[in-house]
């Protein structure tokens, strides 16, 4: 599992630029499925054919990042954000462009209050000597992602982009296990989730599954003075009841709980009022699709050191394996 996660988080893939992630996943699962295709939004759709129900499992490939808006005369880059980048978390971080160029994020130092550290008061230093020099290295519109290599310690994984490569890794591991079922399983690796749950919408419209599960991260309430959340790291995958984008279909939620109980898989229930997942756009697509979610408890979401417990991810694979046999 760590190997799969490690390979996936290291791939460059901000929203709208997921093609390298799609390629990596294709190589990992191509032998295990009957068909792999992409659509106009860049979603990667892998199908394990069957005569039973059509089950869509979705995990998004994109990660948050920055987009170059202006290159100034001294060669510093101004940027906009791609997805929910927290400005203060971005300060001092390294970013990397598609061409492996590294940059450092910093702010206009005449600021009186750090609360004013909005993206338009910040910049990326790529070490260029001038505008002309910088333009040899990057263009306006180029995207960068944060650096944060994966490490494993005490069964926890710390890395950038676990949101949602951990979900991708869970689906990859599930596909590799080839669950024995007559159901038709759609492993859907979606695009542009971080900018508004966009890719999942068109994938679901094309597939028209009988049901769908989004596999994504969810925040935990187990850190010092954290926001009150019922979910903790290491206590099992979280079965979604509600987030800000969807109320899980009760039948899906109950089936997931039943699968966990019958197979002795630890689980938690996820009820959050902030954040959304692909299930939010899937469930109101094409006449309505019963949808739910299996979430991996994650600390420090949208930072360069997102943290998950490997056991939770492994148990998510077991839970989904039981579910798709329904």
């Amino acid at each position: 599992m760590f190997d799969t996660i490690s390979r996936l988080v290291n791939v460059f893939g901000p929203s709208g630029r997921e093609n390298r992630v799609a390629e990596a996943i294709t190589q990992m699962i191509r032998d295990k499925v009957d068909e792999v295709r992409t659509d106009a939004m860049g979603n990667l759709i892998a199908v394990k054919k069957g005569s039973g129900r059509k089950i869509m499992l979705a995990a998004h490939m994109d990660e948050i990042g920055l987009i170059v808006t202006t290159i100034d005369e001294k060669g510093f880059l101004r940027f906009g954000t791609v997805g929910g980048v927290v400005p203060l978390v971005a300060l001092g971080q390294r970013v990397v462009f598609e061409n492996d160029l590294t940059g450092v994020v910093w702010y206009e130092e005449n600021m009186e209050n750090m609360k004013d550290a909005k993206p338009d008061k910040m910049y990326i230093d790529i070490g260029a000597r001038s505008r002309e020099h910088a333009k040899e290295l990057v263009e306006t519109g180029d995207m960068a992602v944060f650096e944060g290599r994966p490490v494993e310690r005490n069964g926890l994984v710390v890395s950038k982009a676990l949101d949602d490569r951990i979900g991708c890794a869970v689906l990859v591991e599930l596909a590799r296990k080839c669950p024995e079922t007559s159901n038709e399983i759609y492993y859907v690796f979606t695009t542009q989730e971080e900018v508004g749950l966009r890719g999942a919408r068109t994938a679901a419209y094309a597939i028209r599954p009988d049901m769908a599960i989004a596999v994504d991260v969810t925040g935990t309430g187990d850190t010092p003075k954290s926001v009150a959340r019922a979910v903790s790291l290491g206590e099992g995958p979280a079965i979604k009841v509600k987030d800000n984008s969807v109320i899980a279909h009760p039948a899906i939620r109950e089936k997931l709980v039943e699968c966990a109980r019958e197979n002795g898989i630890p689980y938690q229930l996820e009820v959050v009022d902030k954040g959304g997942t692909d299930a939010g756009s899937i469930h109101i697509t094409a006449g309505g699709i019963p949808s739910g979610g299996v979430s991996i408890p994650t600390r420090f979401i949208h930072s360069t050191s997102e943290t998950v417990d490997l056991k939770d991810a492994e148990n998510a694979v077991r839970l989904l394996e039981a579910f798709v046999r329904l």
């Binding site: 929203s15 709208g16 630029r17 997921e18 093609n19 390298r20 799609a22 390629e23 294709t26 190589q27 191509r30 068909e35 792999v36 295709r37 992409t38 659509d39 106009a40 939004m41 860049g42 979603n43 990667l44 987009i67 808006t69 202006t70 100034d72 101004r78 906009g80 954000t81 791609v82 598609e98 338009d120 263009e139 306006t140 519109g141 542009q192 900018v195 966009r198 890719g199 919408r201 068109t202 994938a203 419209y205 094309a206 756009s281």
Partner: protein
């Protein structure tokens, strides 16, 4: 300007003189319908008010959608006071500051009105310093009381800014509603072409209040690719930090990489920008990531659509008068025409989607892995 360019500017000026506040686009739709009736293979208006003109392709099994919204920002009459002044709400993104002292015309009879404000002599010190409040504004149509006002206007009427177009300065045009009559003017012209693919020219409604018309049109058309023609933000004047300038007037049409509503399809963006480079048409990247266009709804409609937004930079949009450079408009039109001329090849090659073959390692048609 050539004779053809003069005709184009003439059409654009006429378009800006029509009133089409969101939800009330009929005058614009009627004008365009007359303009394109002879060139479309079929024309229809859908339930939400979009005008969709179809040009049959010459055999390719692909559909391309071009979209330009007909609506403009404006006002909606919400009440009539006893003293004959009209209460209103803004339709689309308008700041109260730009309304003070402006002329408007109301309803289909275009009843003249002005948005008055307390004269400086009567304002106390705090009023002079505080920002304009919408609640302090009303439309004055010169009526002596409610009864008289009700004879010419009704609650629910829309009001548009009342400013005629003027060509001025160095190739500039000032007019109301350049966002997005400039896109409509281009789309009217582009309808003339015949291509291998089926072409759907969609004049959409209600963009300014949430990209509503385009969503319905896109579901009906189910295109493979779409190009959205727009008038976009431009604030390139003194006092703006360099990195807050989104486009520059006169630097050519702007292509959007990303805004709040969309991340343009990278392949289509590159195809259009390569077309511009190849033909020496000036172009620029819309550098800020603010604002939204119909592209956002079209992209995520149906099975998904490859989209890119092509815009003419316009200063002061969402105010009574905006300013564009006529050369940007001609260049945008040229770029759109040349893009359509080569688009069939792109759709079949780099822009194709579908099964990822065993020997192929690049899903999404990208070649830079």
């Amino acid at each position: 300007m050539t004779e053809h360019e003069s005709i184009l500017i003439g059409t654009l000026k006429k378009l800006t003189m029509l009133d089409g506040v969101s939800g009330d686009e009929k005058p614009v739709r009627d004008f365009i319908t007359e303009k394109i009736r002879d060139r479309a293979d079929s024309l229809h208006v859908d339930n939400i008010g979009n005008l969709i003109a179809f040009r049959k392709g010459t055999g390719m099994n692909k559909k391309v959608m071009l979209a330009a919204h007909m609506d403009e920002v404006g006002l909606l009459v919400t009440g009539i006071n006893d003293n004959g002044l009209l209460k209103f709400k803004t339709v689309g993104g308008i700041e109260p500051r730009v309304l003070v002292g402006k002329r408007v015309r109301i309803g289909k009879d275009r009843v003249p009105g002005v948005i008055g404000y307390k004269p400086v002599h009567l304002q106390d010190a705090s009023e002079r310093k505080s920002p304009v409040k919408k609640s302090g504004l009303a439309i004055d149509i010169g009526a002596k009381d409610r009864e008289q006002a009700e004879q010419s206007v009704a609650v629910g009427d829309t009001a548009a800014f009342d400013y005629d177009p003027v060509e001025f300065g160095n190739n500039k045009l000032m007019a109301k509603a350049l966002d997005n009559r400039v896109g409509c003017a281009m789309l009217i012209e582009l309808l003339g072409g015949r291509y291998p693919f089926d072409l759907y020219c969609c004049f959409t409604v209600q963009e300014e209040i949430g990209l509503k018309g385009a969503k319905a049109a896109a579901y009906a058309v189910e295109p493979d690719a779409a190009i959205i023609l727009e008038g976009t933000t431009c604030y390139d004047l003194t006092g703006t930090d360099e990195h807050m300038v989104s486009t520059r007037l006169g630097d050519g049409p702007a292509l959007t990489v990303m805004d709040r509503s969309v991340i343009s399809d990278r392949g289509l963006f590159r195809f259009i920008s390569r077309t511009a480079e190849r033909l020496g048409i000036p172009w620029q990247v819309k550098s800020t990531v603010t604002g939204g266009t119909d592209a956002g709804r079209i992209q995520v409609s149906g099975r998904g659509v490859k989209v890119c937004t092509l815009s003419v930079p316009c200063r002061y949009i969402h105010t009574p008068v905006s300013v564009m450079d006529k050369r940007d408009f001609f260049h945008a039109l040229k770029l759109a025409e040349e893009t359509l001329a080569g688009l069939a090849g792109w759709l079949e090659g780099e822009g194709s989607v579908g099964e990822v073959g065993l020997g192929q390692n690049q899903p999404g048609g990208e070649s830079d892995v």
